[in-house]
């Protein structure tokens, strides 16, 4: 197995490039990013934080439906998505809406997905993402098929699939990694380990030392990364992608992160299972604080820049929710129409029944 610099580090210590105070602790692993690219990473993280705050608020107002908060996980989501190309394919979990949107999925459609509208799954042509996966770890096994397709066609592309720490207890997590290992497929298995699967802490998922070691069971490479450090996340994913397109196979990445909010907006109360000290401790490691310091030290970010992004994000959310509001309501006939390419008799009959009701 080839050993690259960031992937396949040994030991339990996660890779860190930026220390919490914003200083560079591993200049040798610094990803090669222009000033504009660095600023863009910050812009996307701030934008996503504001979007998350707005989404929670819109959910409370009843203007959004199912929503899984993302605050705290901006570096894992944006660092990883930024390190792949638009041609690469994302298989997200239900929390990974930001990666979908930064990969080209329109925000108003993400809002329609949240509300439970057919148009929320109609991914535009050319946007290489699947709909958010509700069945935990199913996407891990499906990523192998997408990647095998690229390999069979000789395309230099990867599939990246996202899941949490709880998902690593599922059979499909192991099966997906194992298939990817056997066929040497270009898959990036990206685990966002935020320490909890709803109320169950990681220690109750497994007695394994960490998630990264589980790659050994499948014979694939792995890396452990500080998920509050966007540059470290970027670097590891970039290398995992290179390994994939160079025929070196799959990589499991464990990114250590934290969600500040509840598991979902469907009534979960994290104060039942988490201490406030723990939350405070993680808030000190906030990916935005760290990266902001780094950029400010380089003269690449100012309060004015930040305010501009905040305004941009608020406006984008407002525009998207308006567009979602204006989208036509669904009819039963719309649902019937997307069941099969050609409707069988029984669905044609039912479509006629509902069409008659709908025309009244």
């Amino acid at each position: 197995m080839s050993v690259s610099t960031a992937v396949e580090q040994k030991g339990n210590e996660p890779l860190q490039i930026l220390a919490p105070d914003g200083t560079v602790v591993r200049p040798d692993l610094m990803p090669n990013l222009s000033d504009d690219q660095l600023r863009d990473l910050m812009r996307k993280m701030v934008f996503t934080r504001v979007w998350d705050q707005r989404a929670i608020s819109l959910n409370r107002q009843g203007r959004l439906g199912f929503y899984a908060p993302v605050a705290g996980q901006e570096a894992t989501m944006i660092g990883s998505e930024s390190a792949i190309d638009k041609e690469d394919f994302i298989l997200p979990s239900y929390r990974d809406i930001p990666q979908m949107v930064w990969h080209g999925f329109p925000m108003y459609q993400a809002f329609l997905y949240s509300r439970g509208h057919i148009h929320g799954g109609q991914i535009p042509e050319g946007v290489n993402v699947l709909m958010p996966q509700i069945i935990i770890a199913s996407q891990c096994a499906q990523a192998t098929g997408v990647a095998m397709g690229y390999k069979l066609r000789g395309e230099k592309k990867v599939a990246i699939t996202y899941f949490g720490d709880g998902a690593t207890s599922q059979g499909d997590f192991y099966e997906g990694m194992n298939f990817a290992g056997v066929y040497k497929l270009p898959v990036i298995f990206f685990s966002q380990n935020n320490g909890y699967a709803i109320s169950v802490p990681f220690e109750k998922q497994t007695a394994a030392e960490n998630i990264a070691v589980k790659a050994q069971a499948a014979g694939i490479a792995s890396a452990r990364v500080d998920g509050m450090d966007i540059l470290a996340v970027y670097k590891v994913v970039q290398e995992a992608k290179e390994r994939g397109i160079n025929g070196e196979g799959a990589t499991l990445i464990e990114a250590l992160t934290y969600r500040y909010g509840p598991h979902t907006m469907a009534g979960d109360d994290p104060t039942r299972y988490r201490q406030s000290e723990e939350q405070n401790e993680w808030e000190q490691k906030d990916p935005l604080i760290r990266f902001r310091k780094f950029l400010e030290n380089k003269g690449l970010w100012s309060e004015k820049d930040e305010e501009a992004v905040i305004e941009e994000a608020k406006q984008a959310v407002a525009d998207a929710i308006k567009k979602a509001d204006e989208y036509p309501k669904m009819k039963v006939t719309d649902l019937i129409d997307v069941m099969f390419e050609t409707l069988p008799d029984y669905l044609q009959e039912q479509k006629a029944e509902y069409a008659a009701k709908e025309s009244k």
Binding site: L91, Q122, S138, T144, F179, M339, F340, E341, D345
Partner: protein, 326 residues
């Protein structure tokens, strides 16, 4: 025309489709160099190469996941589940993923997967090899389920299944694999999915059936004619979802009497759905209630009890007699 067993006909269908469309991939446990545990994929890897016909690790859910991923990336997977009793391992991928792909994406993606799998009793297999689980998928929106009863249908229906742009479960009855040969045309031909076949014409009673029970029902029909001159019509459904109710209802309207014969347990299979639809749409044509011939509602039996458990010719004759004499 060649005389083929059902195994050979299914093999021939895959060969035709592998040659015709390079997006077709055949994979599963032992389907490669071994040619499958029933030799259904014999010779295919040698002819088309390891990138088209290949073995997988022993993990049904992984096989289903591979198929789903390939299907959204432009391929046409023909995935084998070694025995259909193992479908529970891959239930999510079939029922929650492939079956819902077109719907969830509002038509943006689809999963043109054929899940091939042997099932069926009478050959004394160990546990969870022979169970008739097709009824689970009658209750799963988004899939089609095809169950051929002879070599000719098997080839034409499998070619249709592979070409279908939605997921199809293609169930192959183990007892029918090599029990007889039939005429099978060379090259490609298709049989439409969702179309039943009237395999014996009659005017006194309709038997609606599928799979191995087609042959049991045909024998019962012959004996009923010999014993009491009853003219029994036998319908081989061939597809159990979507059901060809047009053919079923036309027959029931002609004969006014019907029974449904299935190998599955009474609470399983498709008999209840067919009877419900006959009640809804043809009650005024009925001279008698529609009865079911099924297996008892126990777990699939220990091998030595198959003979007393599986529906047989006598049980079909008994039910038919009750309906004829009602």
């Amino acid at each position: 025309m060649a005389q083929m067993t059902m195994v050979q006909a299914i093999n021939d269908a895959m060969r035709v489709e592998l040659a015709r469309d390079e997006k077709v991939l055949v994979f599963g446990e032992d389907v490669g160099v071994n040619g499958g545990v029933f030799r259904v994929t014999e010779g295919l890897q040698k002819e088309f190469g390891e990138h088209r016909v290949f073995d997988t690790p022993l993990a049904e859910s992984g096989i289903g996941g591979l198929a789903v991923g390939l299907s959204v990336n432009g391929f046409r997977p023909v995935a084998e589940i070694q025995f259909f009793g193992f479908v529970f391992e891959v239930f999510d991928m079939v029922a929650s993923q492939a079956a819902r792909m077109r719907f969830r994406s509002g038509g943006r993606f689809n999963s043109p997967i054929t899940f091939r799998s042997p099932f069926g009793g009478g050959v004394k297999t160990p546990e969870l090899h022979a169970d008739s689980l097709e009824g689970l998928f009658l209750q799963t929106p988004g899939v089609k389920v095809v169950i051929p009863s002879n070599p000719y249908d098997a080839k034409g229906l499998l070619i249709s299944a592979i070409r279908d742009n939605d997921p199809v479960i293609f169930l192959e009855h183990m007892k029918l694999y090599r029990s007889f040969r039939g005429e099978v045309p060379e090259g490609e031909y298709t049989i439409p999915i969702g179309k039943a076949n009237v395999v014996r014409e009659g005017s006194d009673l309709t038997i609606i059936t599928y799979g191995a029970m087609v042959h049991t029902s045909l024998k019962a029909a012959e004996e009923l004619e010999k014993a009491r001159g009853a003219k029994v019509e036998v319908i081989d459904l061939r597809t159990i979802t979507p059901l060809d109710m047009e053919t079923v209802l036309a027959s029931v309207q002609k004969t006014n009497r019907a029974i449904v014969v299935q190998e599955a347990q009474k609470h399983a299979g498709v008999a209840a759905e067919i009877i419900a639809q006959i009640n809804e749409k043809a009650i005024l044509h009925l001279e008698a209630p529609v009865l079911r011939v099924t297996a008892p509602d126990t777990v699939y039996p220990f091998a030595q009890a198959e003979d007393i458990w599986l529906p047989d010719v006598k049980r079909v004759i008994d039910a038919a007699t009750q309906v004829l004499d009602f």
